[in-house]
């Protein structure tokens, strides 16, 4: 027996082999030193030597993300292609919601390099904070088709219920859109342009916003085959529209020769992130005059936008600008537009904060009945607290996104503390089973120097209706180890 990971909290190993000597293990690793965020790790063994020489995250994303990642599935087609799935509440640099979504990493060189995380559930960018997608599995026929199945609360636009159902997705043969934006007169490359790619059949592909790079090039890989409309927005050049057809396995090249815009009047500005000052790309900016939407644009790679075609008015008016970007708070800003002049309107957007709720119950392990007047406290956050009602139920609303230690205390019962993350705008259920304090229970056991040998059975009635019974050791203070409690909670949630 050998150890692949050690000294850290390593969980959920997944294993596959190409039957050619390479074995790959992926798992979730909890960081040390009090940081409970878990990341995806992988190790590989070659030539059937079972040494697993690699033991690190498959992609730099895991070095900088801030939310826990749960290892979910691993498969190979035995042709050098490997695919792993994980689920996380991480927004992947603000691109996706803070609910749990499924992401894939793929390697086409037998695990040497791995792609950046890509969403498996097509709903990842637009689903609501409670549309959790978790517990994915994966397999392949070894001939190019990969199928993922997972548990989801998503109602798929109300076509199914919002109860947990099994969803699936398959890999699809795709095409790529590439192009370049150039000044029509000078052929100079235009570096500030945002390409908004919309499919004609919107069920196939979500809208993508792709910025041109510093030399005017843009690329949109992995587009489902179909017909697309590309709208070009630039802070310096005129807008343009083109239609393209994406075919399987092919790359379509689109050339945008655009005219330098004459900018004598209008509004322009730069949109940045309030936290780090970085320009925000793809921000949708709507200009409204007297409540009527008048023009729209998108920010380009430098965060710049411009309205050059506002109607010429006789007098100054107040123009309402509305800035929208996924996972950021929508911002309205009034700007005075003076006919014949250019108004500057820089703005900053902040990551959205949508309060969530922690709710649940406290029941007695002896009677399985609700316990009234249990004090439920969120530790460390100004000790926000409430009490359970006569039925043993409680709810704490308006909880900002974050990880919380939740304590349940009541006279005559052992207190219990667990840790849980509240995703942005989500509601989570945390149920407590409290053990009455009586002879033989932890509170009364005081076997000097022997407390660590005392086992306490902890029964958690999970949200899924499952009861899981574990025994956990008391520590030297006679208390149940919070990590063990969390493990029980995780076991329930995992089911």
């Amino acid at each position: 027996m050998t150890t692949i990971g050690a000294t850290r909290r390593d969980l959920e190993p997944r294993l596959a082999t190409d039957a050619k000597g390479t074995w790959t293990v992926t798992w979730s690793r909890g960081d040390c030193c009090g940081n409970e965020e878990t990341d995806i790790y992988f190790g590989q063994s070659y030539s059937n030597d079972f040494t697993f020489v690699k033991r690190y995250p498959p992609h730099p994303h895991f070095d900088t993300d801030t939310e826990g990642d749960a290892c979910s599935a691993l498969a190979t087609d035995t042709l050098g292609n490997w695919l792993m799935l994980f689920w996380t509440g991480d927004t992947i640099d603000g691109t996706f919601g803070a609910d749990y979504d499924i992401f894939s990493l793929c390697s086409a060189d037998n695990g040497e390099t791995w792609s950046a995380p890509q969403p498996v559930n097509s709903t990842a960018a637009a689903d609501s904070p409670s549309d959790h997608d978790t517990a994915a599995d994966l397999t392949t026929d070894g001939r190019g088709t990969w199928v993922a199945a997972w548990r989801s609360y998503n109602s798929l636009d109300n076509t199914i219920g919002s109860d947990p159902d099994i969803l699936f997705a398959t890999t699809a043969v795709t095409g790529t859109l590439r192009g370049v934006v150039q000044d029509a007169a000078t052929s100079a490359l235009v570096d500030c342009a945002a390409l908004v790619i919309t499919d004609v059949e919107p069920d196939i592909e979500a809208m993508r916003i792709v910025p041109a790079n510093k030399v005017g090039e843009f690329e949109a890989p992995n587009l489902a085959p179909g017909n697309y409309v590309i709208r070009l927005y630039s802070a310096t050049h005129e807008s343009a529209v083109k239609s393209v057809t994406i075919e399987e396995g092919k790359t379509v090249f689109v050339h945008f020769p655009v005219n330098l815009a004459t900018f004598t009047q209008g509004i322009r500005g730069v949109v940045t992130d309030v936290d780090n000052g970085k320009p925000l790309v793809g921000v949708h900016v709507m200009a409204s005059i007297d409540g009527t939407p008048t023009d729209e644009t998108y920010t380009c790679g430098d965060g710049e936008y411009a309205f050059r075609n506002l109607p010429t008015l006789k007098a100054s008016v107040s123009v309402k600008l509305q800035f929208r970007l996924p996972n950021y708070t929508v911002k309205d800003q009034d700007v005075v537009f003076n006919p014949g002049a250019i108004s500057e309107a820089d703005t900053q957007l902040s990551k959205g904060i949508f309060p969530g709720t922690i709710a649940g119950s406290a029941v007695s392990s002896a009677t399985n009945e609700g316990i009234p007047n249990v004090r439920i406290t969120l530790l460390g956050r100004s000790n926000i607290s409430t009490e359970t009602n006569a039925a043993g139920l409680y709810a704490i609303p308006a909880i900002p996104e974050g990880r919380y230690s939740i304590d349940a205390s009541a006279k005559g019962f052992q207190s219990s503390t667990v840790s849980h993350s509240v995703p942005n705008g989500d509601s989570i259920e945390v149920n407590f089973v409290l053990t009455p304090v009586s002879a033989g229970m932890v509170g009364d056991v005081n076997l000097d120097n022997l407390l660590d040998a005392v086992d306490v059975q902890l029964v958690i009635n999970g949200a899924l209706g499952l009861a899981v019974a574990f025994n956990v050791d008391t520590d030297n203070d006679g208390q149940i180890n919070a990590v063990d409690v969390q493990r029980v909670i995780n076991a329930v949630l995992e089911r």
Binding site: E12, W27, D163, P164, A169, D473
Partner: protein
């Protein structure tokens, strides 16, 4: 400068494209507050895809417990069969059937494993299909039942997983009372040897959970699992099977 060429998106390092998410369980639109969860999906390399999962109070089975459901696809997951119960006693049992896993062996044989428990006992249950997962025989006990209230520091019985070499030999693994157990079949799942411990957990040692097994089909079988305790980590153990 662009180089225009046909792009293998999987090989480009840019990742892959996934199709739009769709419901796999045909009951999705009609069930109400039914918890369909813990899916496991397999492929037999011959065109059949099988997904198994657990469902709580599903109308497909007994509406008071958890049962194992399944659906098949023979068109690369373009469509899936109507949901059916894998545990053939789903309509009459009152046990909780959870944490399923299914995989294909040879000759259209599929095996499924899951945790079957009630307030008295828990054990690993198995079922066998000889028609590509279309129908299943009655559940059998793969492991020895242990009391549900058994007092070890991890779940009593959990996470069955299995692998086949495609020539009739299977290895199944699961966690039981803090240890990792395994057993072997050499007749494509018709019968099994006595369960054996890979690692046990005396009360002074940590817990071992979440085992997974895989084989290269050439005699190497590897089991990995998560190990709780003073030295947390992922452990592996290689099993060498020499089949006569």
């Amino acid at each position: 400068m662009f180089i225009l060429s046909s792009l293998n998106t999987f090989a480009s390092g840019a990742g892959i494209h996934w199709s739009a998410a769709k419901a796999l369980n045909s009951t999705a639109a009609d069930d109400f507050q039914i918890d369909d969860s813990a899916p496991a999906i397999g492929n037999d390399g011959a065109g059949t895809w099988l997904t198994v999962w657990q469902a709580h109070r599903s109308t497909v089975g007994n509406e008071t417990d958890w049962d194992i459901l399944f659906a098949r696809s023979t068109d690369k997951a373009a469509s899936w069969s109507a949901v059916a119960s894998l545990n053939t006693d789903a309509g009459t049992d009152s046990t909780n059937d959870t944490a399923p896993f299914a995989a294909a062996g040879s000759s259209s044989v599929w095996l499924a494993f899951w945790v079957r428990s009630d307030i008295t006992n828990s054990f690993i249950a198995g079922a066998r299909s000889v028609d590509g997962g279309q129908s299943w025989n009655a559940p059998y006990a793969l492991s020895t039942p242990v009391p549900t209230t058994f007092g070890y520091s991890v779940s009593i019985m959990d996470q069955p997983h299995a692998a086949s070499d495609g020539r009739g030999t299977w290895v199944a693994v699961w966690s039981q009372q803090g240890g990792i157990f395994w057993t072997r079949s050499t007749n494509n799942g018709v019968s099994w040897g006595a369960p054996t411990t890979l690692i046990t957990t005396p009360r002074t040692l940590p817990d071992n959970v979440q085992p997974r097994v895989s084989t290269d089909g050439a005699g190497n079988w590897l089991v990995v699992w998560s190990h709780f305790g003073a030295l947390n980590g992922i452990y592996d153990d290689r099993i060498i099977l020499r089949i006569p």
